[in-house]
Symmetry: C2
Subunit: 592 residues, 2 copies
């Protein structure tokens, strides 16, 4: 059975040494002193490690069952869900006007990482509820908000997002689900949705589906899509549950992982729904939920990598095989622990450098959202809009890779069920796919975000990197090991952007063919920036006489590893991009 | 359900255009004209696609069951096994003196790729039998060979390899299984072996275990290991089956994939066995089996990538989503097939370039084995000894990655069971681990093979690459697109080797810390060489007026893609290696 130890020390470092949250002029941040964050994270971590983690292999083994239209979640999930509700975790950052605790989103992400590391499939039930809450909060009527939000914040009711249909996923313009307006202002929804996470289950009293559908007579394609709220049970004026709505689960998907989460076929057979936001503007409203979900999915990639790394490290410290080439490290034992071997060490350092860098990046991104949302910082909004596909795409591509590396550290044990690391690999795999495949993230970055507002957000990002590199010059060590390689990588990234611009007039395909590489370049520059700033923060703490110097020294060493062994990939990605669109598109589709 | 179409056209290209097998002066090769290979491969392909492939999801779903000490394989496996026996496929390249067909090993690998693509878990039963056959053929006594080989070649009896114990895998010096000499020349074996593929099953009448064990009083460590033959049923002097031996299956491992293959805990409770080869020289004898198995595992990585690619391609041609950015390609339909999108195309080209390059590399390697084994070419023996870890490590690391890329092409469908691609990912995952993890392959390459015979094999490899680059100069197109980048990559590879040598005196860890990168550099140079030679062969065929020019033009275009977008990774690996051992080993084990 795998272990899970919440990374409290490292989160404290990110929140207080790196981001210095309590010093920032963002509503709610002043209260985030070390004692407060330690209390919150400690409590969440306990729930994660003691309640959720033990249920992770159970959920994987049992999966969900559909019996007479009712989905049974794995044993123990209901009790755990109640514990989550009791702790108020589902409404941690929700609007106090509807019963939420009003904490910054940052804290939701920090606690969320732990919940996901402990049990990703379980946490998806509440994760999607949170997304539905946000969409409704941003686009719902006052009545809708008053009716639904308190119950969703409390976890009594859960939420879903319904986009995909059998013949359309990415291309939502093809949606066939119809919504017919009724005399009373409601709509009747008819159609089938697939791959609906938590579409049906036994954890909550009601399920609030947010559904994309077309109102007959509207514009073709994505401009004719509207968003609807369709509850499983209709809600009476007094808030009590009324009739069962005509929305049912038609089947469960068998899949590679996240077995504890019900992936449902949902049939809408004249179900009653209500418009959310404006007619035909459904995609925009859904994107409130989607953008949040994308940050959440990036966090899932990181969280799986984090728990996989913990288990790989534990194994590497205990498994005795062979001797260190520089002389036995444990001469008294039959062999040395495998962590002494350079290639095992390489695998662990790859994981550690990604996990800690990725954690900083994810929390920094969450902090940017707070900056935009709570403090009205337009620059931060632009920056996070630019980087959302990077958080999603990079943290999940690399997070999966990191899980695979962890599995490799365990050798044969990594392939067996007992050790549990193979489950992290299988669960992490979906993160590269859902909420828009990583190919779609790359297109979003290159095709939309890069040029939006005349490229202002991209320029702001480059300026941010440059400013830090400039500032870092005062410390020759940080300058040499971090700022100089980062400067080079950032230059290469700009060169890639310039290449796209130069190619655009005669080859609109060029940017698209290089999009994946560009997303990864950007991700590396982001993690490089995080590592530079973390190394700097670690040196500051050491100079101030930190009581645990080993922690900070390890931070600097891990950062150096990232700069020396991960950042050079940026140059390769540039070479790929500059090899042009021709090699990618040379073959006719029939010639494959 | 996934599809499988044998890659007959591509194999024909590798055998006849690239390797030009029928022109080579190797015993048995003269008979390999196009008609003969086409007949053999066509027959194997039919068996693979019609019999084995449909059982692949069945095996995955049902797995194996242990009932009262007997392992039941999935439904249909027994019938399929009989079909394999009837076709004589198990003894295709085996010694005619014992009933084999005496074909070159090359043909065994070509047919093997198809069997593995169709059903990897199933094919492992006979794959390991083949390995055991080879070990016994090389090291057994005449009596042993006469008794066991004909039955193993025929498939009536199967074989296994027993190395791992609960506390030792890679470090075989720790083995505890004891073999006590008996008066009659036999041994009594006592101990437990784990992760024994096909250790017990219902496909064959008898199972011949090759077991590593220690004779009491022998030297410590790996120098005290001997190899034993331990049959499930003792064999009477007349060849009939006698008493059940004291070797039993104590349990089946639950694992991530290859569910159709029984991974067994094997208990030896005073089982009767016979020494194979010399006392205390067991590891050397087992390595005959191991080296063959490593080529076989490399082939598995490739074969899973090949079938995954086929399914990704089929999906990309049929799934309609979005429109080409350069204008609708199927304006009559609701959307274009996703193969029009550059990022989808990138994923497919990555797979295609790896699969076709990897296939050439694997068959070229098999051909080197034939050259050494059948024609006594010592240079070829040295070369394949050097490259065996590369075949295993590179083709499985990249093969797995290619399966993951195929899964990504399918989007959400790639994560669901129905489409079957997720099974290829799960099955392929083990190839990076068993028969020596890829970390061990890298150490073997860098720590042993690179310097063996004073570096003669490595120098021969570099000379081979150089000679081809020289020869390619006559064609300016091949020179510019293939030979020049390959020359550069080979130079970088030599630079890495030189770096290891320069570091060795003061830092024995340096080569080990860079071993993984070095293995991948070597793999890229090998595939680069294959692509250069394939492009050349394609041009030759085109100049000769080939009737299917499209096939050859696609070959050249795919090769260009590899050179432009995969080969640049060599430079990154070099940068990693040259960043030195310090970043890798900087942290104390306790500081992680």
């Amino acid at each position: 059975m795998p272990s899970y130890t919440p990374p409290l020390r490292d989160m404290e470092f990110v929140l207080h040494d790196l981001l210095q949250v309590e010093t920032l002029d963002i509503p709610g941040y002043a209260e985030l002193d070390r004692d407060t964050t330690r209390a919150i994270l400690g409590e969440a971590g306990r729930l994660a490690s003691e309640v959720l983690a033990p249920l992770n292999p159970v959920g994987d083994r049992e999966g969900c069952r559909l019996e007479n239209g009712v989905v049974r979640t794995p044993q123990g999930f209901r009790e755990a869900y109640e514990r989550m509700r009791d702790g108020g975790w589902m409404g941690l950052d929700a609007d106090p006007a509807y019963g939420g605790q009003g904490m910054p989103y940052l804290m939701n992400c920090a606690t969320g990482e732990m919940f996901v590391s402990a049990n990703m499939a379980f946490n998806m039930y509440q994760g999607l509820t949170h997304g539905a809450y946000s969409a409704l909060h941003a686009h719902g009527t006052e009545d809708q908000k008053a009716t639904y939000l308190p119950k969703m914040i409390d976890g009594a009711w859960s939420g879903t997002m319904n986009l995909t249909e059998p013949h359309c996923g990415t291309d939502l313009g093809l949606i066939r689900t119809r919504a017919e307006p009724q005399q009373d202002g409601s709509y009747r929804l008819t159609g089938q949705k697939i791959w609906i996470s938590g579409g049906e289950h036994d954890l909550a009293e009601n399920i609030i589906h947010l559904v994309l559908a077309k109102i007959p007579g509207g514009p073709e394609g994505t401009r004719g899509i509207s968003l609807f709220l369709v509850p499983k049970y209709l809600v009476n004026p007094d808030g009590s549950l009324g009739d069962r709505n005509a929305v049912t689960c038609g089947g469960l998907e068998e899949k590679m992982g996240i077995h504890g989460n019900a992936t449902c076929v949902m049939n809408y057979d004249g179900a009653t729904g209500w418009l959310v936001g404006e007619t035909h503007k459904g995609l925009k409203a859904m994107f409130t939920m989607m953008n949040e979900a994308r940050i959440g999915v990036g966090l899932q990639g990181l969280a799986q990598a984090a728990v996989a790394y913990e288990n790989a490290l534990g194994f590497a410290r205990e498994r005795l095989q062979g001797r260190s080439v520089t002389g036995a490290k444990h001469p008294g034992g039959p062999a040395d622990p495998i962590i002494v071997h350079p290639d095992v060490r390489r695998g662990l350092m790859d994981q550690k450098a990604f996990v800690e860098g990725g954690r900083a990046f994810a929390l920094w991104a969450a902090h940017m959202i707070d900056r935009g949302h709570l403090a009205g910082d337009v620059g931060a909004q632009g920056l996070i809009s630019l980087l959302t596909p990077v958080v999603k795409g990079f943290l999940t591509d690399r997070g999966f890779e990191s899980c695979v590396a962890a599995q490799q550290t365990l050798g044969g044990s990594g392939f067996t069920r007992d050790w549990g690391v193979e489950q992290f690999v299988r669960d992490a795999r979906i993160t590269m796919i859902y909420e828009g495949t990583n190919g779609i993230q790359a297109l979003d970055l290159v095709g939309r975000k890069l040029a939006s507002d005349g490229g202002a957000h991209a320029m702001a990002f480059f300026a941010l990197v440059k400013a830090w590199c400039q500032e870092a010059k005062s410390d020759p060590e940080i300058d040499a090991d971090f700022a100089q390689p980062l400067k080079q990588a950032s230059k290469e990234l700009q060169q890639a952007a310039a290449y796209f611009m130069a190619q655009a007039p005669r080859s609109p395909d060029a940017a698209l063919a290089g999009a994946h590489d560009f997303l990864h370049m950007t991700g590396h520059v982001c993690l490089g920036l995080m590592w530079g700033r973390m190394a700097q923060a670690a040196k500051t703490a050491l100079a101030a006489g930190a009581t645990d110097p080993g922690f900070y020294e390890a931070k600097i060493a891990t950062g150096r590893y990232y700069m020396a062994r991960h950042l050079p990939l940026v140059a390769t990605h540039l070479r790929r991009i500059e090899s042009g669109v021709e090699p990618v598109m040379a073959l006719d589709a029939a010639a494959f």
